[in-house]
Structures are given as C-alpha cells and as structure tokens.
Symmetry: C4
Subunit: 240 residues, 4 copies
C-alpha cells in the first residue's frame, strides 16, 4: 500500500491545531479525567466537509495521528455503508461514528465528544427511579453559564436558567443509538448533549473549544449533582 493510496497526508501536519493532532491530544487529557477509560469513549472533529475520528478499541491516552480515520461528510449517503477517505490499517472504525455524524449534520457541530464518565452514568442511574427519568435538570449553579443558549442562538445560558439534558436508553450496539439520539435532538433542539443511560454522554459544540469546555462544564455538573444527592440537596431550586 502506498502512502497516497491510504491518504496518510490527511493526518500529517505540523500544526498542533490540525484535527489529527488535536484528537490524540484531547483524548490523552480525557484519559486523565477518567472519561475514556479502557478504550471507552472517543472524539471527532469536523473541518468543513472532512470528519476526523478516533478509532475503536485503542488506548485513548496513547493514540497517534496515524490512528485517525477520515471521511467526507457529504458522501455518507447510506448510513449502513460508511466510506472512509482514510482507514488506518489494523484498526477498526468507532461505533460512535453515526452518532458523531448526527451532531455534525443535524447541528452543524465542529466537534463531538463521547465520554464514559462515571458521573454521567451515575446521574442516569439516579434518574431511573424518578418520575421523569429521561431528563436531567439542574438550575441555579454558575457553571450552567458554560453552555450556549442553543442551536443557531447567540449567547450563553444564564445562572437562573434550567439546563436540560435528555437521556436515551442504551442499546447493545452503539450505532443503534443513532435514531434515539436524533429523536432527542429533535425534541430538545437547543441541547448540546445527550446522556445515554448506564453508558455515558455525547457532547458537541460549534468548535473544538466549545465542545470541550461544554463537556467539562457538564461533567462538573454531573459530579456536583451526584455529590448533592449524597448530601440530600435537590438539583432544582426556586431562587428568583
């Protein structure tokens, strides 16, 4: 196999901000946060029509630019048949791919992150016994201001706004989450994240910066919510 056939040039760049360099850098950081333990989780960056994806089943803190998959967003017409511009030899594409693509096509996201954060999983477990088990809600916490108001809207949520993150049920095969993820996106058009019960969370943003900082803010809120539950403190409060 020659280099050009495999399109290796797509993942070779001296620019630290190139998606093929950024994804390994991000995943290394996410590993230290416990978000991508044991090959779980992943990340994808979209640059115009090109989508860069972390592969399946690799140690996320050891990933290298040459491990990155690349595809053209506009050419993914048949969801059952994925065509890659670049496939690293001896690796497998991530089952998260159709979910990342949903964020790119339905929300114009520039980056989508998937974590297995325990705080996310615990929040979905705590919700299971509640009346509205498919919606995480929290308000009156400053960190909520870390989220944008929503799709094609200007500005950020306010301190008194209620952050709402829909929860979808997990499925045995990750790609089968795509339909319910898209349903949740339709029902909550302004959300930047969808929780997956007993699994983790998908978070996106217009840019890498926004996806990452929204993911951090959300994980912060999930951890806070779990600690609040341990201490008997409610997630929603009535402050003028």
């Amino acid at each position: 196999m020659t280099e050009s056939n495999n399109n290796d040039h797509l993942v070779k760049s001296d620019d630290s901000q190139h998606p093929a360099n950024l994804i390994p850098e991000l995943c290394k950081k996410f590993w230290t946060l416990g978000w991508v333990t044991g090959t779980g989780g992943g990340a994808s960056i979209r640059d115009d029509d090109l989508v860069y994806l972390a592969p399946s089943g690799v140690q996320k803190e050891l990933m290298k630019p040459e491990d990155i998959y690349v595809l053209e967003l506009s050419k993914q017409l048949d969801p059952k048949q994925r065509i890659y511009l670049r496939s690293p030899p001896s690796l497998k594409p991530s089952q998260c791919t159709p979910l990342f693509i949903a964020a790119f096509t339905k929300r114009g996201a520039g980056c989508c992150i998937h974590t297995h954060s325990q705080w996310a999983v615990l929040v979905t477990l705590l919700l299971e016994s509640q009346s509205n088990k498919n919606l995480f809600e929290i308000n009156n916490i400053e960190q909520i201001k870390g989220f944008g108001k929503g799709y094609q809207k200007q500005g950020a949520l306010g301190y008194h706004d209620t952050l709402r993150i829909p929860v979808i049920e997990n499925t045995p095969h990750e790609e089968d989450l795509t339909e319910s993820l898209e349903v949740a996106m339709d029902k909550y058009p302004d959300t930047y994240a969808v929780l997956v019960r007993r699994h983790g969370v998908y978070v996106w943003g217009e840019t890498v910066h926004k996806a990452k900082t929204q993911c951090e803010s959300l994980d912060y809120l999930f951890q806070l919510a779990v600690e609040m539950k341990k201490l008997g403190l409610p997630w929603l409060s009535d402050i003028a």
Copy 2:
C-alpha cells in the same frame, strides 16, 4: 495594529515570575485541581499600579502570556467604563475584573484567585439550610493556620481560632457581585476570601504566594467540611 500600540511588551518577559508568565502557569495548575473547569474561574496579579488579568472564556490550562489583559489600577475611576492598557485581540475581558479590583483597592491585595471548586459550591449549598446561611465557620483544624490574621495584621490564625468566610448570593451577571462582595469585605474586614453561593469563591492575598496558598488551604477545608458532613461530624467544636 503595531506591537507597541497594543502594548505587547507588557506581557513579554523572560522572567518566570512576571505576572504574564505566572498567571498561565497558575491557571494550568488550577485546572488540574478542578478549580477552573470549562473556562470558569480565573486569576489576577497586581504589580504596583499594573493589574494583569486572565481573559474570559478561554481554556484556562492552555492560556498564554499574550492572552493577558493589563490595566492601571489608579486609572479605573468609572466602574462602568474599564480602560485597558493592553487588550488581546479577539478575546473578551473577564467579568471578574471589578471583583479582583475590589481586593486590590480595598485590601491592597497583590493577587486574587477565583475558583469554581465544587467543594466551595457544596459548602454554600449545605449552608443554605442552616440558620446562619451567610457564614462558613470551622475551627480546631490545623490547616486554619494557613491564613493570615487579617488586613494589615501580623501573623497567622491559630489552631483554636474560628475561620469565618462570608457567603454572598450569586447574581446573573458576575460584575453585579461587586457591591455585595465589598459589603462582605466591610463586614468581615479580616477575611481573605468570600464565598459566592452556588458559584465558587474569591480568595486573595498580599502576594501571589499568599493568595495561592490561602486558596489551597481554603479548598482543603471546604473539601474536609463536605466529607465531615457526609460522616456526621460538626464543623465547629469546643476544644480548649
């Protein structure tokens, strides 16, 4: 725009102790401590009349000296109109600015740190249901000796002294905290910190060293206080 016009020389120094080098270094450390997650929190250093400030909305662990704002403390006559000696292009000044300035002008602080530490937030939440919800108090813990006795006083608090940190209510816009922060400073003239309910904490000190180590000591005490609550242990005790 020429370099001199933008006063880039104010943030260029080979000295690792220069405020424009120190602030990114500190914020990187604070990020690993979970204090400035998702662009939250910040830090400011005063060198005589010059005030150096972390910008708003940046990933705090990736900040660079050229991202730093600079202003002259003596020239900030109108709180509604902030004049910067140096504004990094394409960044926004921090909403924390007037709060940092309050610590500099009212207490002669040399550094002020703002964290979104979850331990700080949880302490303010736990206080909400208490009779005196606007004051965190703890005593008889060695780490209390990490705090100075107070404004223009010599020496440190003692082991038996009660550390008192006032709590102010959060507001939708961070700069609107300024007035209540100043009221809290007036009511507790010797405090080196003010908690903001459901938000975080502001901590200052005469020097970078003192602000940072007081912030660490306080975060230690907040975490300890939350764990004590989980274990049914009271924050105040009666030891001779």
Copy 3:
C-alpha cells in the same frame, strides 16, 4: 559478576514496547491511579516462553528496566523452586510470581496485572455480608463491553451480559493464593480476573493492551459499584 552471567541483555532494549521497558512504564501509570501504592501490586508480561516480572518491594513509579526479573515459563516445573534467567542484584522476586504464572499457563495470557485498588478491596468488603460473598456481579453497564467473552472465545461481552468476577479469600502469604486462584479459574473459565478479599485483584489478557484495558474497565466498574452502593443503587438490574 559479569553482564552476560546476569543476562542483563534480556532487559536492555531500545524498543519502547519491549517488556522490560513496558513494565516500568505501566507501573508508573498504575501508581498515579492508586493501584500500586506503597510497593503493593505489580505486573508481568510474557513474550513466548519468557516471563518478565516486576520485583517485590520497590517503589513502583520509580522502577527501571534493570529491576526486572526474567524466567522461562517451560522450565518452572517445581512450584517450590523458582529458577530465574535474570535476577537483579539486591532485589527480591515478587510473591505474585506463581499467580502470574497461573494466568500464563492456564489461560495463555500475555500479561497479568495485580492491583491493590481500593475500589477492588471495597467491593470485596461489601460482598462479605451478602449471600453469595464469593462473586461480584454487575450488568447493564456499557463498560462491561470492555471484556472479552472468555478463554479461547471470540468477541466481547454485551451490554446486557452479566460480568462475573470470582472472589477468593486472602492468605497471609501471597503465593498461597495460587491454589484458590486456580480453583476460581476452573470454576469460572471465562473470567479474566479474580478478586482477592481485602487485598485487590488479578487481571490478565492475551496481550498487554487487553490486560491493561480490561484492568481499567474493571477498576471503573468497581468504583462505580462502590458509588452505586453509597447511593442505594443495585448492581444487578432487569433490563430487556
């Protein structure tokens, strides 16, 4: 003693993937995860008939390639008498050796990791008061997919599968665990791990990659299980 006599060449390699380089690298990482605190725990890699072992009693984050023991698997006929191809002077072989060897001989493992993770210990303590105290079971958590189906089987566990990890009782001398470890392996032929009550866990895999990522996934599940217990959430659930 000459270098060739001591077989130092067995642990000298420029290849970062050589077992004598990998073991210190892994142990350094494990130390930051709290798995090998205070010289506890360890790791071993098998390369065909050669077995590389971390020594006993060293600070695991400071280990060097020259600290590694080497033996030939096929030559270990008498379990009471261990013959090393290479023994570092002034170090002692690990008491875990026969347990690592059990994973290599009975399961054809390529790597075996032993941690003292507190989450593993707490899980075994929580099980002590349960009717089936010798088996940790959890299901319907995505991270379960991080485990292979079992010895000589293809593919991974599914989301709805129940992960079962047997628990054996601790003994005063670590090598005395060997028999009960082997009994547990026989009873649960598809397990990739055995918990040791009040002690920790042994985890293996066909390759270093699989042993490490299965160990991470398991530690994730142990931590989650402890947090679930604190929050009153059951480890087993009935989801179609």
Copy 4:
C-alpha cells in the same frame, strides 16, 4: 555573606539521591497527593549525623535544594535553641523540626514525613467519638504488610496483624507536640507513625524508601477506613 559561610555546598549535588535533591522531589510528589497543600506538611532526611529539612511556609511543589536547612543531630543539645549548619536566607525553619528529630534520635529513622492528608484528619475525627479515641486500629487488609514489625525488629507485619497507630492531641504550636509524640513513641515502641488529631500524621522509616512507602500505605489505609465508615464496614474483623 559568602557561599562557604552559608554552607551552600551542603545542598549542592549532582546526585539525584542527595537529600537536598530528594526532599524537593518528594514534596512535589506529595503535593500532587494532597499531603502538603498550602505550605502544610513537610519532610526531613537524615544522613548519618546530618539532618536535611524542608523550610516552613513555602509552596512545597516549588521547593528547591537551596531552600533546605541542614543541622547536625549530635549538636542539638538544647531543644529550645536550634543550631543550623545551613539556614537559607529569607526563609524560616520548620516548626516540625523537633518532631522529626524525635524520630531520628529515638528510633534511628533515616527519614520522617509529615502530611496534612485529609484522610488522616478524618480518621482522627471519626475516632473522637469512640471509646478508645487515641488509637487507630485496622486489621485483615493486605496493605498492612507495607509496615515493618517495629523498631529494631526484622520483617513486616502480617495480613492478620492489627496495625495500631496512636493519636495525640493537637497543640496551638507545632513544636509543643514533641513531648506527647515522644510519649506515644514510648507507649507504642513499634509504631512507625503517630496521628495528630485534626492535624495530620508523622510517618518515619529507616530509609527514605521505607518512610515514603509506609506513608503511602498508611494514607491508603486511612482513605480506605474513611470509605469503610461511609459504607458501614468495621475497621476490625475477626478472620482466622
């Protein structure tokens, strides 16, 4: 002041194992473990008659060899008057000094570590309401084997042995702990550590290696003990 007058040569060495290089290296590590937050805690190494000490009030993760104090153990005849071979200008000697010296003179220790670990503090708080509030006891946990049998004894504690760590009451001035620390050492001649209520712990060992790994093992057990308390699990159990 000339360099020789200040005995700077005592802290200048290219050997990474020299005490003046080791202490900053250790303290940096301890800072990441939360043991020496906000200038709290410290460490001292004895090399024959020379004692090397971390100074008071410095950021422990930023300490440098030139910050180290040195004294001669045999020349410390009057506990009220400490004579230093080397005193760094503009720093203050640690109040822990007489406690470190107690470990060196009464137990022949080669290294003594003082942490403000929250797990240590929480253990002393949990003991306050117990009948025997001055003794932490735990047994049947593998990590107990991380401790030597005691002063001038060979070998390590066994799995079934009960680890006993005496607790002394805190005093406003740290040097005033010396007498009760020595009383506790006399009452528990085989202990390698003394807890200080609401303050932290002192841990020593014959070598740096032993002091550090015993300190790690102890902190592990303190954390485990706190988590056991949260989960309703007893510290002592009756296993044959």
